[in-house]
Assembly symmetry: C2
DNA sequence: ATACTTGCAAATCGTTTGCAATACC
DNA sequence: GGTATTGCAAACGATTTGCAAGTAT
């Protein structure tokens, strides 16, 4: 089942985003977006992704992981989620959706977009435009 | 208009919270909760509060500001708001409410509780209980 | 050939900690 | 007096940066 030219689609995706398909960006994109496994939504920190890369025998520096995550975010391939001061999560699900945050262990979990509905939203403050509405449901294991 | 025994109420408040009314806690409480000025909602970072203390000629170390902010938060006098990775805000408004976050300049602004209404909420994941629902509306100055 | 990327190590930022000195009850 | 609190400076963890070396087009 090992694909002989496995990266074609990812290369295209990076090029479209205006990013050179370098070895490290490809490898990270594979780890992030290649859903050979089941889940479509991943929430990774830079450290986590770096560890995964190491396990996968991919040599990438932590600095490059940071750079890449931000480039992917700027390119709209990822979304940054802030729930914990001092730790940034990157979400591979860029659709409109919200999150459960497990404060005990720092895990994030997607809430399907339809499960949260806002009945009423304030208008943006004068001189400002709404960029995104984020709902974070903080939960505690019991 | 300078009160001769200005701290009585704050002292009581700290005692009720189980905190010794020390000089530095009182001074910080005054800066945070004394609404001689207009606004009832303040969103401060530790650094900001420390600066204010310096300007007010109150000698407090930054470490103590951090300690105090967390103690106040644990005691329910403050609420911590996380919108920016790497920076913690403390909100003097502990009522149920949500926030606008101005990404350009890092300013936070309360949204009155009634202006956001959630029509539908998911139930908590199995084995977990909802601790708080936070709505953050990220806005951009234009 | 050239501009973009990478890796490394050092630097930075916000925050926390250990511990001796000090203040509150 | 005994315990809680403070300040300092060092330690910390996550993230960023400068720059020389490597790589994609």
């Amino acid at each position: 089942m090992t694909d002989v030219r496995p990266y074609t689609a990812l290369i295209e995706r990076l090029k479209l985003a205006g990013l050179r398909p370098t070895r490290q960006r490809l490898a990270l994109a594979k780890l992030l977006f290649d859903t050979a496994d089941d889940q479509t939504d991943r929430h990774v920190t830079a450290e986590q992704l770096h560890s995964e890369a190491m396990e996968a025998e991919v040599r990438v520096s932590l600095a490059t992981v940071y750079n890449t995550l931000h480039q992917f975010t700027d390119a709209g391939l990822l979304r940054e989620v802030v729930v914990d001061s001092g730790r940034s999560y990157f979400d591979t699900n860029i659709d409109d959706h919200h999150h459960f945050y497990f404060e005990d262990n720092g895990r994030l979990q997607d809430i399907p977009g339809a499960a949260v509905r806002l009945a009423e939203l304030p208008e943006a403050p004068a001189g400002a435009a709404i960029k995104r509405v984020e709902v974070i449901i903080r939960v505690r294991e019991d």
